[in-house]
Symmetry: C2
């Protein structure tokens, strides 16, 4: 191991050169209406130097999430990502250099590295990853989406065995895990997706009891038929008209887990709020509650243990949907927003290991 | 005491005659758009005979509530009140005859007696009232509205001392109690009403820290100024654009108590749902939860003890707004929906006691 910057331990390709080319995808413009490739541009920069307490990570995998789109439009639970900035995003990376962090070079970590080949992150802001099987699972079932499903379902939704749990974007990264966890918990599980093909995946491969296509002209009637005892917990990833329809079928004292609003992220003409709010919330005494997984950071180990147990028991399948190459990240996000993915969408930016 | 029907104990005017004229207000039509007097008609019927386990009550006071309007339009938490039926409503009545109930003739009870001078109710469906001061308080602070305020604020809203509590319809029966309870709990309390006169009542007489007029053209800015630290608990009695504005000012992990939707009950063109749902619910991790006081029936004694203590301590004023005469009940409800009341609106139907 050599020192290329004073005090910085490094290895592999980093140790072999003083300047590392760093391919980056930068926000070119704040989108107007639907996202287009013109809202991004690629550029070749130079990898930064880790300061004290920082890591230099080589991006292996990049997590593509619906929330990415919301970050481009304005302030959410984080500041807007502005034109000229590297697009933000969760990465799984290999530590290739570190500066007094105690994190060994060669470790894998996840963190907000952004859409680039190399990122400098404070060690305090990354999660160590102990590789178990395919690295992609650490962005899927063992990552933020799996943990979101776990805490959203059990802490916010609180289903009882025998209750009906409805989940939208049910073939997506979070929804597919929610449905499988609820089924294992003894619930009747109904999924909503946007295609017959996805509905086959969730019923035949993931064991959902029923599936409904929100694009069908008979959606409302199909939903009623799929939930003959009403809905006790609705895990909402989409908002919009699907939320509206679910509210009408909720049982008294039902719970709506407000996890995401993917139907509204990529549009210049957002739908009005659901007509059933607050009227149906009052008459049915519903609880609608928002969820952000970072609030549960102190309990990640509990969630990961539950998820790992379910995978080990063979009752939880992690569907992964990989797009190759950093330059395809904009198209990967556009496709995600259009619903083309099945399972967790990930962009592979580099190989798991680079020989040194 | 005589028996006028076999097995039925009765007293006073009931014992004095075999048939009692019973003035009734009947639903004439399901309203289209705003409520009008033509949606009701008065008729003279005959008081019914209490069957086994039933009471015959003489109505003293009739509670006028925003929910009355919703009952006319369709199914809510109860069946729609249909044309031809006596209008439903909570009454405080004197028991003038009973049939094996164990409830003494001459007792006061509250129950769903409807808009009429005499009603027959099962003893199992009424609440006994031990008169303490003005009977009207048993429909106000010691009635369903006071209990709604207590359970809604403390069980659903769960404010901490020092937090900001916002309440709409703040000069109304429920809102005025919510604000006073929250102030006594150590919260900053901001009320929303529809007039400067009401705002003076809630700040000068009830001790609210600030008041905002939702009809003001500067409402959004006024609300922001009145809540410099944001809103932690919003007790929503109105829905519509006021809910929309409150959602924008909610703090992370804020709570919205969904108690009523008075802005939407009396209109043929309901507002769309709030634009911030579910987007702001997700990003701010809000909890919106509906409330119906009947769910807390097992804990009414706890609530009444808290409310009685606050009245005794002089920190809770019960504003009562009386309209005289059963025939004025339709106008009393129309006026309530237009916001003309200050405090709990009640129609006086008869005297507290009738000499026998």
């Amino acid at each position: 191991m050599k020192e290329i910057w004073p005090g910085v331990a490094a290895t592999g390709s980093v140790a072999a050169m003083t300047e590392l080319t760093n391919r980056q995808i930068v926000v070119a413009a704040t989108p107007e209406g639907g996202l287009t490739e013109a809202d991004f541009r690629a550029q070749d920069g130079v990898a930064g130097e880790p300061g004290p307490g920082e890591l230099l990570c080589r991006t292996v995998l990049l997590s593509i999430d619906p929330a990415n789109r919301a970050w481009l439009q304005g302030r959410t639970y984080r500041d807007q990502v502005l034109p000229g900035q590297v697009m933000a995003g969760l990465v799984l990376g290999e530590v290739v250099a570190e500066n007094g962090t105690g994190v060994p070079v060669g470790s894998y970590v996840t963190g907000d590295g952004g859409w680039q080949e190399y990122s400098v992150m404070p060690a305090s802001r990354v999660q160590r990853v102990e590789q178990a099987g395919d690295l992609a699972h650490h962005l899927g079932v063992f990552g933020m989406t799996g943990l979101t499903a776990y805490f959203g379902l059990f802490d916010v939704g609180r289903p009882e065995p025998g209750e009906t749990v409805l989940v939208s974007a049910a073939a997506g990264a979070t929804g597919s895990v929610v449905g499988q966890l609820a089924r294992t918990h003894g619930c009747r599980v109904v999924g909503i997706t946007g295609s017959a093909a996805k509905n086959r995946v969730i019923t035949e491969r993931l064991g959902f009891d029923a599936a409904v296509d929100h694009r069908s002209p008979t959606f409302a009637a199909d939903l009623k038929e799929a939930c003959p005892n009403g809905i006790d917990v609705y895990f909402d990833n989409v908002g919009g008209p699907v939320l509206d329809a679910a509210l009408r079928r909720m049982n008294v004292h039902g719970r709506v887990v407000c996890c995401g609003v993917v139907s509204q992220y990529d549009t210049g003409s957002p739908a009005p709020g659901p007509a059933g709010v607050p009227g149906l919330v009052v008459t049915k005494r519903l609880r609608m509650e928002g969820l952000l997984v970072f609030d549960y950071a102190a309990r990640y180990a509990e969630g990961l243990a539950h998820l790992a147990g379910a995978v080990r028991d063979g009752v939880l399948v992690d569907l992964i949907d990989v797009v190759e190459g950093l330059d395809n990240a904009p198209r990967a996000l556009m496709g995600l927003l259009a619903g083309e993915n099945v399972g967790k969408r990930i962009v592979r930016v580099g190989p798991d290991r680079v020989s040194s």
